[in-house]
Symmetry: C2
Subunit: 151 residues, 2 copies
Amino acid sequence: MRAHARGKRSLRLWLRLLRCSSQVEKRIRVQLQREFSTTLPRFDLLAALYRRAEGVTMSELSASLRVSNGNVTVVATRLIQDELIAKITDPRDRRASILCLTPRGRRMFARMAHEHEVWVTAMFDDLTVNQCADLMELLGTLRQSIEANPL
Amino acid sequence: MRAHARGKRSLRLWLRLLRCSSQVEKRIRVQLQREFSTTLPRFDLLAALYRRAEGVTMSELSASLRVSNGNVTVVATRLIQDELIAKITDPRDRRASILCLTPRGRRMFARMAHEHEVWVTAMFDDLTVNQCADLMELLGTLRQSIEANPL
């Protein structure tokens, strides 16, 4: 009976967690389209390059993103055409090439990141400082629980 | 300065929420593949039909699922071929057709749902009853906050 209650409780919690994260993600997708005529995979790729000013190889990029390898190539190719990112020779290894933001891509992403923060802040607006701290801590506990209980 | 701190706090919280939900979802995808050689879109479609024993139209189904309309058709077509679901005439409207689980699909989904609950319960295992209740409530507050703050 206890195990049954625990199962139902975990399932309800997971569904609510999924619903929250889907809602936030959906709002971000809608706003990226509306304000910048762009998509979440493009935003994510620019964000990954913004954080690594020294540039990254295509495979490093694929590993760090939510999208699959093939899609990363498609998204990157379009961003190169749009001159928001560039493929250059890796200064550390002249046989390899790396991707980096162009100055225009860097300016564009800075604007998008600012708006992205405004959207997310608005969605979390009704949580108090203490509620944010509690949620942060509980999600940390959950993350540890997931890692501590492999199947 | 306050607004700045609030923005950073919201962003950190959103990234942690996204990471948790992505980790749980990824584990479920891996387990569905490993234990049932199936995918999350197939599982989600079967789950939607399991909850609605009277059957649903294709458009009702599309609206309730995470995947896009075109993909629902593709997934449904494969499940019909596998004889896990069936397309039948809607008894309420003989010009329309609805999808429902076959007896085999119902048995198969019941097994998958049981295992799914085991996986989710394991991932949430280190949270106490009180922590589960707190997390449930905070996510409820977040959901209300998202709805109360449209852009």
